[in-house]
């Protein structure tokens, strides 16, 4: 009951403010009236009585104030008043507040944008799935650590119906190409079981999921498309269901659309475009083995629902006995190291990956912290400068009776208001950034959004920034000596010292920015080094065109004819010197485990090598010299003994001699021996980044014709400009059959450059933050210097009156700037050099493995110093000019 009275009283106080005030005035008026009457009744003169009443009552306004205090309105009132006052002040001082809000907006915006990536990849789950009773099952590998399952292993697990009510599987996301009109696009596919939706408790938003029959090999290919791709590529047209699509050249019927808001099995923020039955996996990879127990890789996630009343321990026991049984039945393929069962809530993606993801997250959080620190210290610098500039105002307010608490509250409200405005600006920026990323046409779609979690993060960040970095200036501003602050606005006690809190913050910002810029430099060095590497094959004048005849309905026989005609036509184009048919991405090796003849097979001694498909004329067209033996040619046809050309390094490392002609090896899991007929000089690959890590990869080249494969494209070499060949090549293709899609048309130079996109993006990202940081530091520095000049105006005036020239005054300002920047630059550069040197120490972690080794590049360091100088000059220019233009007389009279 009392709570109700309190609540009523407080609500009235806040919401019926005016009525409460009226009540009080009325009550006091009535009281006075009665008192006056009482005195008159006692025989006092009416005029005298009135005056006495007024005297006794004292100050009605202060009485009202006291009553309000008693009602607990004081704090609320004060906060409202402070907010209004602060808002008015900030609008009035827009020259300060607009840059401050922009600075904060940039900092908080960058932070929020990065956080939205972390949120999508590492925090957000799917609210659509009920995880109670859902478990994730991971067969353990030979090391005993949980791995993924093979398809037969999944079937064995699902057969344990005494513990699992139902089980489903889905493969790791796989990149596929699909035909989109006249072109080809990259998409993300998952190969999943018919039970997928039931186990997760989901329903397609349109159409149906695949049936157990469609999961069996030989059934027609079907797909359920993602909700995202349905809206973006199919215009959310319900008629998309029933349509046929070409994925990896195979005709696939769309039978349904996944639920809205469901992205993928793996909660990585990546959006899956196609779900297909596992048998489609075998068809599209062209290898039935991917679904066998002895597959090269086990790509399947398994999730199951526990039967009612079955405990986790019972499920684990059942899986242990399954593991032992399989090890007995399939001793070659099943290690028998147990099967890990974990509640779905405890796994994000996979126990083996989750740790790595956390590592990536902490790296991103580290970057976040740096951006945040820069943004916060900029705000703190600005607020400190502002607080110092207002020390006179604060002193006056303290002198006329404001308490220290009131002033701190006022200053805090002001910085909170600033940081919240900055937060709002930041969210807008982050929202734009996220939308910008979404609008990019990337092969992988990330489901990024500024959702409630992200907004809460930005809000927390803003409040935290406002409080933390408003507090120090507020405390400092109120801890001053009243009389001296009011009397003089010349040098305050601290300004003679070079290393105040203000300067310290700027030094910190410069340091961090310099380290970031130096890191950018290292990445740029890596990119330059990667570009400068010897590729070992022809790049200039090489143009490539890929198509996908299967998606236009071509059978193998027609495909062969088509490519022969295409090659002839392109060969006749003006300027074309050589042409060769290619399969897949040129010079992009597929890693395969190989077994060498004579190796001890029982020890499972496989080695890794990269396989590249070639055709007659490949080595000539790409200028790769054959050191021993012969190149792949027309003798290597189907039916002839399997042959390969190996790279120099593969020959030396695996066969002990460069001349390895006649030696044999086989691909692990295949029976046929491959005889080496030639050794080619070492080359790099199409990935400049891979080459940086391993400049002489172990490669073997085989004839795709001999293996019974079809070509997928044509490579043409010209002595002229390869880029100008791309148009005519595409026209020749469409002239043969306008139905044929263009899967890719680029020059070799473009192909190699594309592999540098990631390090370039990282360099751009770090460099962007570094430049942003130094710019912010520059703004802070400007504020500090401008403030110092204003405070020292009297000192400057006196010195000029005593004969100091303008140059001396400007020199003074310049010395201040140089001291702060010099300290920051020196610390930053020292740190950067240390980091580079330690990276050099780690660049050779094992014999034979050489990572890129960065060097201390004087030119880069010089560029950084130059940038700092430019920032310093920009920051000091206006204040220095003001100092130099100062009229000694008016400066002295300024008091």
């Amino acid at each position: 009951m009392r709570a109700w009275y309190i609540l009523r009283s407080r609500l009235r106080s806040v919401f019926f403010r005016d009525r409460r005030e009226d009540d009080l005035s009325e009550e006091l008026r009535l009281h006075l009236e009665r008192q006056t009457e009482a005195w008159i009744a006692q025989g006092i003169d009416p005029a005298e009585a009135k005056q006495r009443g007024r005297r006794q009552f004292g100050n009605i306004e202060s009485l009202k104030e006291e009553s309000r205090d008693a009602r607990g309105l004081a704090t609320w009132d004060a906060i409202v008043r402070d907010t209004r006052h602060a808002a008015r002040r900030l609008v009035h001082d827009w020259r300060f507040s607009v840059p401050a809000v922009l600075l904060l907006g940039l900092g908080i915006g960058a932070n929020t944008a990065i956080f939205s990536v972390i949120n999508a990849a590492l925090i957000r789950g799917s609210s659509l799935i009920d995880v109670t009773g859902l478990v994730e099952v991971f067969p353990n590998g030979r090391s005993g650590a949980p791995m993924l399952a093979t398809y037969p292993a999944y079937q064995d697990i699902a057969a344990h119906t005494e513990v699992f009510a139902s089980a489903m599987t889905a493969s790791m996301p796989d990149a596929v190409t699909y035909r989109d009109g006249s072109g080809m696009r990259q998409g993300v596919a998952e190969f999943a079981s018919a039970s997928y939706m039931d186990v997760l408790g989901l329903r397609p938003s349109l159409g149906r999921w695949f049936t157990a029959d469609e999961e069996r090999p030989g059934a027609g290919l079907v797909t359920v498309i993602g909700h995202r791709i349905w809206t973006t590529r199919f215009g959310a047209d319900p008629a998309a269901v029933g349509r046929t699509l070409h994925i990896e050249g195979q005709p696939v019927t769309i039978i349904g659309v996944a639920p809205e808001g469901y992205n993928a099995t793996a909660k990585l923020g990546v959006v899956t475009d196609f779900w297909m039955p596992p048998q489609a996996f075998a068809v599209m990879r062209g290898v039935p083995r991917v679904l066998e127990r002895n597959a090269f890789e086990a790509p399947f996630f398994v999730k199951a629902r526990l039967r009612d009343g079955v405990t986790l321990a019972q499920a684990r026991a059942a899986m242990d006995s399954l593991s032992r049984r399989l090890a007995v039945e399939y001793p070659k393929d099943e290690p028998g190291k147990g099967i890990t069962v974990l509640p779905a809530g405890e796994v994000r993606i996979h126990p083996g990956i989750d740790g790595f993801l956390k590592g990536v997250a902490s790296l991103l959080v580290g970057v976040l912290a740096i951006v945040l620190a820069i943004a916060c210290s900029s705000l703190a610098t600005l607020l400190l400068v502002r607080a110092s500039a207002r020390s006179k105002e604060v002193a006056v307010r303290l002198a006329i009776g404001a308490t220290r608490r009131q002033i701190i509250r006022h200053l805090l409200v002001e910085s909170l208001l600033l940081s919240l405005a900055g937060g709002a600006a930041g969210c807008t920026l982050a929202w734009w950034a996220v939308r910008g990323i979404a609008a990019l046409d990337l092969p992988i779609t990330m489901d990024l959004s500024v959702d409630v979690t992200v907004l809460m993060y930005a809000l927390t960040l803003s409040v935290f920034t406002g409080l933390l970095f408003g507090l120090a200036p507020a405390l400092k501003a109120t801890r001053l000596d009243l009389t001296s602050a009011i009397r003089q606005d010349g040098e305050d006690g601290g300004s003679r010292r070079r290393f105040t809190l203000r300067n310290g913050l700027v030094v910190f910002q410069v340091t961090v920015s310099v380290v970031l810029l130096a890191a950018t430099g290292v990445f740029l060095q890596a990119v330059t080094a990667a570009r400068a590497q010897r590729v070992g094959f022809a790049v200039d004048g090489v143009a490539m065109l890929r198509t996908d005849p299967r998606s236009a309905g071509y059978a193998d026989g027609r495909t062969a004819v088509l490519f022969d005609e295409l090659r002839t036509r392109i060969g006749r184009l003006p300027g074309v010197d050589t042409t060769v048919l290619v399969r897949g991405v040129v010079m992009s090796p597929a890693g395969l485990p190989v077994v060498l003849e004579g190796d001890d097979t029982s020890a499972r001694s496989t080695r890794d090598a990269g396989s590249i498909w070639v055709d007659t004329g490949f080595f000539e067209a790409l200028d790769i010299p054959i050191l021993f033996g012969r190149a792949i040619d027309d003798r290597d046809r189907p039916g002839a003994p399997a042959t390969a050309v190996v790279s120099e390094t593969m020959a030396r490392q695996y066969f002990g001699a460069v001349n390895a002609i006649g030696r044999r090896f086989r691909i692990e899991g295949e029976d046929a021996w491959v005889t080496i007929v030639g050794v080619a000089r070492d080359t790099g690959t199409d990935s400049r980044v891979d080459d940086l890590v391993d400049p002489t990869p172990r490669l073997f080249f085989r004839s795709f014709r001999q293996a019974g494969h079809q070509p997928t494209g044509v490579l043409a070499r010209t002595s002229g400009d390869a880029e100008r060949l791309l148009g005519p090549m595409q026209r020749e293709l469409l002239a043969i059959d306008p139905q044929l899609p263009i899967a890719m048309a680029r020059t070799m130079a473009q192909e190699l450059d594309a592999s540098l996109l990631l390090p370039q993006a990282v360099a751009g990202f770090l460099g962007g933050i570094g430049v942003l940081g130094l710019t912010l530091a520059g703004v802070g520095l400007y504020a500090v210097i401008a403030f110092t000049v204003a405070r020292k105006s009297r000192e400057i005036g006196i010195r000029m009156a005593l004969g100091a020239g303008r140059g001396d005054v400007v020199g003074d300002v310049a010395r201040d700037v140089a001291a702060v920047l010099g300290a920051g630059a020196a610390t930053g550069l020292t740190l950067a050099v240390l980091v580079v040197l330690s990276m050099r120490a780690f660049s050779n972690p094992a014999p034979g493995v050489v990572f890129f080794s960065p060097s201390v590049d004087p030119l880069q360091l010089l560029a950084i110093v130059g940038f700092i100088l430019a920032v310093g000059v920009a920051a000091a220019f206006v204040p220095a000019r003001r100092a130099a233009k100062m009229n000694p007389l008016s400066a002295l009279r300024h008091e």
């Binding site: 009550e27 009552f57 607990g72």
Partner: protein, 109 residues
């Protein structure tokens, strides 16, 4: 006016609660009643009365309504809430302990 006894902090609350425990009263009447009953030895300053009334209301011990007084005049009437009644008992026993203590000190020294 200066010979009046200043009320000890907190005592005024007790007096107000006790006074309006009998019947709802308006501010002026509360001050009058306290003055009368204490034989003019306790005088309540308006400057402390109204803040005290608002404080008590804010704490939920008393509640106020506009009404008409004996002479058919408008006035704001204060009455005790249930919590106020309990609080009055607490305050009374507190006061008794205090005054007994003070008396003991005065008698034994």
């Amino acid at each position: 006016v200066s010979d009046q006894t200043d009320l000890i902090q907190g005592t005024l609350d007790l007096l107000i609660l006790r006074t309006i425990a009998l019947e709802p009263m308006h501010g002026w009447a509360i001050a009058q009643r306290i003055q009368q009953i204490s034989d003019e030895s306790l005088r309540v300053q308006q400057g402390s009365l109204y803040p005290a009334l608002h404080r008590l209301e804010h704490q939920g011990w008393i509640t106020a309504e506009w009404g008409t007084s004996e002479a058919n005049r408008k006035a704001r009437f204060y009455s005790l809430t249930k919590a106020g009644r309990r609080q009055l008992e607490v305050e009374v026993s507190k006061w008794e302990r205090l005054s007994a203590g003070v008396n003991l000190v005065l008698q034994r020294t």
